[in-house]
Amino acid sequence: MTALERRYRRLLLAYPRKYRAAHGDELLDVLLESAAPGRSFPELRETWGLLLGGVRSRIIHQARGSAWADGLHLGVTAVAVANLAVLLPYAGSLPLWTALSALALLATLRGWVRTAIPLTGVVAVKAVALAGGWQALGITLLPVSPSALTHQMLFQFGSPLTVATGYTVVVSGLLALAWRRRPVRARSWWWWAVVVAAAWAGPSWMPDDTTYPLSLSRVAVEIAVCGLAVMGAYLARDLRWALASGLYLLVTSAELVLHKEELTRQHLAYWGLLILLTLACAFAPFRQRRHCLD
C-alpha cells in the first residue's frame, strides 16, 4: 500500500461505515487514478471534497425513519450527555453514581430505552437530592469535591429545580420512545468524546469575580454540535435536528434563567448563539431550492 493510498483510506473514514464497505474501494480507485504520478499527499481540494462528502453522507444517512422519534432520541441523548458531564469530574467521590449515569447514557445511546429509564430515574433522584443538599439513596458527604477537570464543588451553581429539569426531559423523552414500541437506532460513539469536553471547565476566559462562570470547552462543544445540527437540517431538509436542539435549549435556558441576576455579556452572547442556532435548525429545512435536485 502506497503512502497516498494510506492517506486516502484515512480520509475515507469521514464516510459512514456502511457506505465505505459498499463503495470505499471504488472511490479509492478513482482517487488513485486521478492522482499525478509520484504524488504522496492528497490534493487539498480532494481532501476537502472527501471530508465534506463524508459529513454530507453521514447526515443524509441519519435522516431516515420517523423525524420526531429520532429528533426526540437525539435531544434526549444530548441532555443525557450533559447530565453525565456534570457528574464526571466527581467520579472519585461518587464512583457508583457516575458509573450508573454512564450506564444510563450507554443504554440511551444504544437505543435500549427500557433499560435507560430506571437507570436515569435512580441517578435523577440522587442528583436532585445532592443539588438540594438532601440525603437520599445513601449518605454522601457534602459538598462533593472536584477533580482535575474542574475546580468547582458539585452543583455549586445548580439548584434542585434545574437539575430536575434536565433529568425530567430525559426520562419523559425515553418514556415517549418506550410507549412507541419501535426499535430506537443506536447513536455514534463520538458522544463519549463530547462528555469529556463538556465535563472540563476549560481554560479561564471570564473575569475572576464572575459568580456564575461558563465552561469554555463546554460552550465550544455545544456550539460545534449545534452547528452540525444546522448543517443536518440544511442538507436533509428535516426537522429532527430542530426538535433535538430545542430540547437542549430548554434545559440550558432553565439554568440561565435561574441565574438571571448574574448573567454577563458573555452569558447573553452564549444564550443568544444557542437560540440563533436552534432557530436556524427550525428554518433551514424550509430554505428555497436552488435546483430541482436540491
Partner: protein, 107 residues
Amino acid sequence: MPRGTSEVSEPMYFVLAALRAGPLHGHAISKSIKELSGGRVQPSVGTLYGILERLNERGVITVDREETVNGRNRRYFRITDEGAALVEAEARRMQEAASLVLRPSGA
C-alpha cells in the same frame, strides 16, 4: 438564474451531459466533465460521488453494471429517460436565455 425552475447545478448538468454518450464509471465521468467544460468544471472525487449518489437516488441516473478491476468494484452509471429529458430541458432553457443576449441586434 431564476429560482424555482427545473434548472440543475452546473456539475450535475455536466455529469448528465457526459452520460448521454453511454454508461461510464466514476473516473471516466470525471475526465469527460473536464473535456466537455474545457477544464472549467473539475469536481473533486468526493463532490462527484455525492452528485452521482443524489442523481441515482432521484432516478435521474442508474447503475448500468458493476465490474471488478484490480480487485476493486467499479460501478458504471447510465442516464435514465427522466435524466435525458431533464438535461435536454435545461439545455433548451439555457439556449433560450443565451439567445436573448447573443442574437444579432435588430433580428
